[in-house]
C-alpha cells in the first residue's frame, strides 16, 4: 500500500481501467486519442492546453504526463509556465467573478 494517495507509478496502469469496464474504457481512450490528434489546433497547442487544465483540475498524473509530453514536443519551460499562468488566471478569475454575486447580494440586503 502506498504511503500517499497518489503514486506516480499508477500512471503506468491508467490503461487498466478498461479491464473493469471494457466498453466504456475503450470508448474513453478512443475519444481521448482522437481529441489529441492534429486538428484545427496543432498537437503542440493541445499539449499546452492539457498542461494548463491539468493544473486547474489539480491532477498530479496529468501534470507529469503533459510536462513530459511538452518536452517531447520541444515546448520550452517558459511556454509551459505561461500556460500554467493562463490556467491560474482563469481559475482565480472564476473565483473573483463570483465577487460580483457577493456584491449584488450584499447590496440587495443592505439599506
Amino acid at each position: 500500500m502506498a504511503d500517499t494517495y497518489y503514486d506516480p507509478k499508477d500512471l503506468r496502469k491508467f490503461g487498466k481501467i478498461t479491464e473493469w469496464s471494457e466498453e466504456l474504457g475503450t470508448k474513453f481512450f478512443d475519444y481521448y486519442g482522437s481529441v489529441f490528434e492534429e486538428g484545427a489546433l496543432s498537437a503542440r497547442e493541445k499539449s499546452l492546453i492539457a498542461l494548463a487544465v491539468s493544473h486547474v483540475v489539480k491532477c498530479p498524473y496529468c501534470i507529469d504526463a503533459y510536462t513530459k509530453d511538452g518536452l517531447q514536443k520541444g515546448i520550452t519551460k517558459e511556454e509551459m509556465m505561461e500556460a500554467v499562468h493562463v490556467g491560474a488566471a482563469i481559475e482565480s478569475g472564476a473565483t473573483l467573478v463570483h465577487g460580483v454575486q457577493m456584491m449584488n447580494k450584499y447590496n440587495k440586503l443592505s439599506m
Binding site: 506516480p8 503506468r12 496543432s42 498537437a43 503542440r44 513530459k68 518536452l71 517531447q72 514536443k73 520541444g74 520550452t76 519551460k77
Partner: protein, 351 residues
Amino acid sequence: MATKSLKAKGDELAVSNKQLEILNGGIFAEGELPYFKDKINEIGHFPLRPAKLEILQINVGYMCNQVCEHCHVDAGPDRKEIMTRETMYQCLDVIRNTGAHTLDLTGGAPEMNPDFRWFVEEAAKAGIKDFIVRSNLTIIRANKKYYDLPEFFKKHNVHVISSMPHYTRGKTDKQRGDGVFDKSIKALQELNAVGYGLPGSGLRLDLVYNPSGAYLPGDQMALEADFKKALKEDFDIVFHNLFAITNLPIARFLDYLIASENYEDYMYALVEAYNPAAVENVMCTNTISISWDGWLYDCDFNQMLDLKVASKVKHIKDYNEDILNDRNIIISQHCYGCTAGAGSSCQGTVA
C-alpha cells in the same frame, strides 16, 4: 552539464560490463518488463539478421571538444582513443570494395583526429554516394585551425549532419555546455554561407535532435518544422532535414538516468513505446560500425557496450562482407531505444 568522461572519473559505468549488468538485470530480470529478445521473437525477428549492407559507420576517435550530458560514447577532451592512419588504410581498402553506398564518419569530434582531413580526401575518391561527417558544430569555431572546415567539407562534397539539441540557448547549453548554442549558431551560419543547407546547392546539411533529458523525442516532422521556423526567423539559418534520435541508456545517458532516478521510468517508456513496425528497419540491419581501433560492431551503441559482431570476422583487417552478413545481430535491452515510437537510427525515424 558533465565536465569529464566517466572513464576519466573512474566511474564504474565506464566499464561496459557494468552497463550490461544493469541493462540485463533489475526490472528485466525480475520479469517486470520483457526482454527485447522476447519482444522481437513474438514477431519472428529473433535472431535479428542483417539485410543488405548500406552504411559503413566509422568512429575515428572518442576525443571531443565537448562533454555532453547524454553522450553514449562517453566522449570528451580527456579521451585519447584515436584511429591511426594504419587503421584508416584498412578502412579505405574496405570503402573501395564495399557494396555500401553510405560512409558515415563519427566520433567524438571526428575533425579532431589528426588524420581526419587526409582520410576524408582519400575516402572521397572512393565513389561513395553519400559521404557523411557528423559534426558537433562547435568544433568549427573551437580553434583557428578548424575555421576553414565549411570550405573543406564543400570541396569534398561532404554531407554534414550536425547535432543541435534545441533552437533555444538555454536547452542547448544545459545539455552541451555554456556557449555551445552561440558557437553552433555561428557554425551553422558559416555552413550556410558556403552553400550548405541551401535549396538546390547539393550541399546537404541535416540536423540531429535528441531530447535533453529522460523523455522520448516527439514527432520528427513537427520538430523539424519548429526548428526550421525558429532558426530561420531568429538567425536566418536554413537546413535540409532534422533527424530525431532517441537517447539510448548507455554510458553518460545511463549514468544520468540512474543518478536522476529516471532509469526505471525511462525503460518503461521505451518498452511501452515499442513499435514492432520499427524492428525491420533498425540501423544495425544495414550498417557496420567500425571502432577507432578497427573492431567491427552491429551499431555504434554495441560498440560502446563492447559487443563485437558475432562473426568470425571481427576486425577491419579481416573484413569480408559475405561472411559478416551471415551473422546474428547482438541485442540487449538498449535496443528498445531504436524501436520506440517511430523508431530511431542515425538517420532519424525508421517507421
